[in-house]
């Protein structure tokens, strides 16, 4: 948890509502739902985390909302204080409140991954992630993966290979592919297909997305 965190003590840290008979909390479900294909490897870890959290849940849980309340989100290394309603998704907080519109929303239902951002380097669908669930995590968006003048190697490779057309899916694609390289610097084409298996592109840029990502991996490897 970051230093700049506003009221972390008051916030429900983790799924705090009681387990439903089926053993799934609503917020636990949303957490799982927000994870993109490339993030599923970490689901198991999340589940362990949930079990511990439930065991440690405090007796008197403070409730939030429905009115807006203050939180601080760590985005691209900067703390942003904002007022959110509990129902606000991370995508809405980014796009509407912070005017960071590089992250796109296309289906608003966790199927297209246009809205992919990283939570501590794990790619998640920000339309399926509540903004309050991002508190205490490092959020990285498309605006945050490159240095001011230099594109991230995946971004540069996308441009070199023309791995984009209308570009609406592109930020999400880039985030999925860059997350892959964080975890796996030497991916195969099958790995790239898996990483973007949740990313829909109606313009059909996939062949060049595969090529660009493999090329970026090669460039990174030769630099390392």
């Amino acid at each position: 948890m970051s230093q700049h965190q506003t009221p972390p003590k008051d916030l429900p840290e983790a799924p705090s509502t009681a387990l439903t008979p089926a053993g799934i909390t609503r917020r636990g479900f949303l957490k799982g739902a927000g994870i993109t294909a490339a993030g599923t490897a970490l689901i198991e870890g999340v589940q362990v985390f949930q079990r511990e959290a439930v065991a440690a849940a405090p007796q008197n849980v403070k409730e939030f909302g429905p009115e807006p309340f203050p939180v601080t989100l760590q985005i691209n290394g900067k703390a942003h204080a904002l007022q959110i309603e509990p129902r606000t998704t991370l995508a809405e907080a980014l796009r509407i409140q912070l005017n960071m519109t590089g992250t796109k929303v296309s289906c608003d239902r966790g199927v297209c991954s246009s809205c992919t951002v990283w939570l501590d380097k794990m790619p998640v669908n920000s339309c399926m992630t509540l903004a309050i669930d991002a508190v205490g995590h490092h959020v990285t968006t498309i605006e945050g993966i490159s240095a001011a003048d230099e594109m991230h190697p995946v971004q540069a490779a996308f441009v070199r290979h023309d791995a984009l057309q209308c570009g609406f899916c592109t930020p999400g694609m880039v985030m999925s592919c860059a997350a892959l390289l964080e975890k796996n610097p030497h991916p195969t084409e099958a790995d790239v297909r898996y990483a973007v298996s949740g990313n829909l592109c109606r313009c059909g840029t996939y062949p060049k997305v595969f090529a660009a990502t493999l090329d970026a991996a090669g460039q990174l490897a030769s630099k390392a």
Partner: protein, 802 residues
Amino acid sequence: MATHTPHSLPDAPLSAATEAAAATKIVSMPIGIPGYTLHEEQRTVPASEPPVLPVNSDLNFIGKSLPRWDGRAKVTGSARYTADVQLPGMLYACFVNSSLPHARVLSVDTTAAESHPGVKGVHVIEQVFGNAVLRDPSLERSKLPIVRYAGQPIAAVAAVSPQAAEEAAAKVKVKYEPLPFVVDADLAREPNAPLVFPGAADQAGTAGGGGSEGGIPQTGNVHGPAVRKQGDAEQGFKDADVIVDARYTTQVQTHSALETHGVVADWKPDLLTVYASTQGTASVREELAGYFKIPKSQVRVITEYMGGGFGAKFGAGNPGVVAATLSRKTGAPVRLMLDREEEHLSVGNRPSSDQRLRIGAKKDGTITAIQLISFGTAGCGTGAGCAGPATNLYKWATLHVEENDVFINAGPAAAFRAPGHPQGAFALEQSIDELAARLNMEPLDLRDRIDENPVRRVQRKIIRESAIWKSRNPRPNADPGPIKRGVGLSQSIWYRHLTMNCGAEVRVHKDGSVEVLSAVQDIGSGIKTVLAQILAEQFGVEAAKISVKIGDTNYPVGPNSGGSVTTASLTPAVRDAAWQAARKFLASVAPALGAMPSDLTLSGGMVRSASGKFQPLAFRAAAAKMNVDEVSAQAKRIPDYDPKKYDTYGGIDVAEVAVDTEAGRIHVKHVLSVHDCGRPINPAQVISQINGGVIQGISYTLFEHRLLDPNYGLMVNANLDKYKIAGSYEVPQVEVQLTESYIGQSSTDASGIGEAAGIISVGAAIGNAFHNATGVRIRQLPMTPAVVLAALNQPQPSMESL
């Protein structure tokens, strides 16, 4: 209907020709395909035209795969789409949509919605866009528009947040009188089917095509037939040695662009500014000015970036008109972007088809007759005709086409990438293969006999020599195991459609910067890059340094990007403007260089003196010597140099499939796509578009299917979780070969590729590959596992044999 004839899109070449006819010159232009048929031909062109461009290999910028001009903005997220626009005080609007498929709206009570916290305005819709319109409106008396499909917008709410708007929309009370409905196109054709319209109705086409001509007969829900007869087809069939006759059906496909339809409208007393996700800034301006009866000069439309349209995004439509209305009402900018469900329901789709296709041929392959009777549903719109391929792809002696639209209570169709052609080619190209088999001919040999297009001929040669085609076992069903491999091909065709009504301005500044301005929008196909390359070639300045200002009706009018018109229409105007600006530039530096303008040339980025008066001077250094701060030139599209020489565009796709005959799954392994778009200005971008057409074609062929519940009339799969489109796992190896081909028609001789590539031909190529793999014809889309297994268990034979 979509029976295409050359130059049949709106704005046919008209007046410009006569004005400029005065001074002409005769030039020699490259014609044909380098490496195959390249030669020179003469053309008479206006004297003001720039010098003839040589073939791509002799150019520096045009014809090179330069990086997409706005690639960086798109990959870094700084590109601002309509969905991203935020203006101070902007309100969020959403629609209240009909929950019934057919109803009269008796009343709309907005009281509760209006008093909902955060709500600033509510509007009840008086005119619905998109639906077909009754020829005789008096047949239907209703204060508010009749609901013809579930999801039709009825009202809209604007509020300070999206959530407040949605909450308030739920409080709008609509009182309906439900009317009988029909959502199944077969049932809708029956004599006692519920009527979608009480009389004949027509839907106008858009700049992307679609719609229907007026005056076509209508019986019940059947709008048609639109008949075209040439020669005596019955006699043609009598003259035939072989007849193939089959029925094909295809489903409704939704466009599913990733950015939904929508606008941000900002109504000010003297100017309506609209940010629109559109394929036609001109079309949006036109419709808004018309609807609100305000001068066009008081409507500004901006489309800096847009997230895909595929034919469905022309005009202001319901979102545009309603957002502007709400903005006028509330005095604040209003954002109205559709959600994904609305996108599936209300803003267009590709009509279905049910085709009976008969082809008669002589033993040598000569086609004596083609007969196509088609029915298709465009929902409560029209435009289901699909006879383009049957009419235009091959030579025939006689033709008989009847196209029918079947109205159902579903959202209206819209132009969709090569309207009518994927459906038509799915049938035609499988029947042509079937005919070849019956004649004991190879598929390519038969096509060589019946298709004289010189480009297609070269493309077939390329296919013949390709590894994928050589790997094809001509004997169907040759693999003994449960997984069977097959290879098949299909041709595609599209037309040289042009929009004459477009132009551009080019400016050169004293600091050496150069800019091009046009209202044209970049729909993802890369026109920004193309324009930069044309200017780069003229001025010898790096393409990335050219300032490209488009997507704004403040600039000279651009073409609406539909029917693959953009590159073919606009690039000659841009090149002409660049050439004229360069001449003005030379005139403005001539005094400082102590030369006559006629002594100066600008080529390869250098200003030279023909008489050797001075050493070649770099463009930028020369610009500093301009005697004015800026020179500029505007040019409009002039008619094609030789419009009588009509050319089609097209290509051939070859698909390799592996059919799992136990699970019923078709895996597309590899597609070879050989296509023609005239002079490719940026080959990488052309290839991107072809990849996209191929993948969309696979998606259409195997997965996509709009499903309507016959009991309630609702779409059951109106989001991308249930409406399956191809994703990364379904993408085969796509290999593209461009046929660079010159026809000597304009100062760039370029054309578009959006329609011709992939989407038209991949369905039939997969169908033919499936037949090659299994020996069975599959005549129904989408080829889902259930359809595949049914076909394998109960092959549908050709209906008739002679």
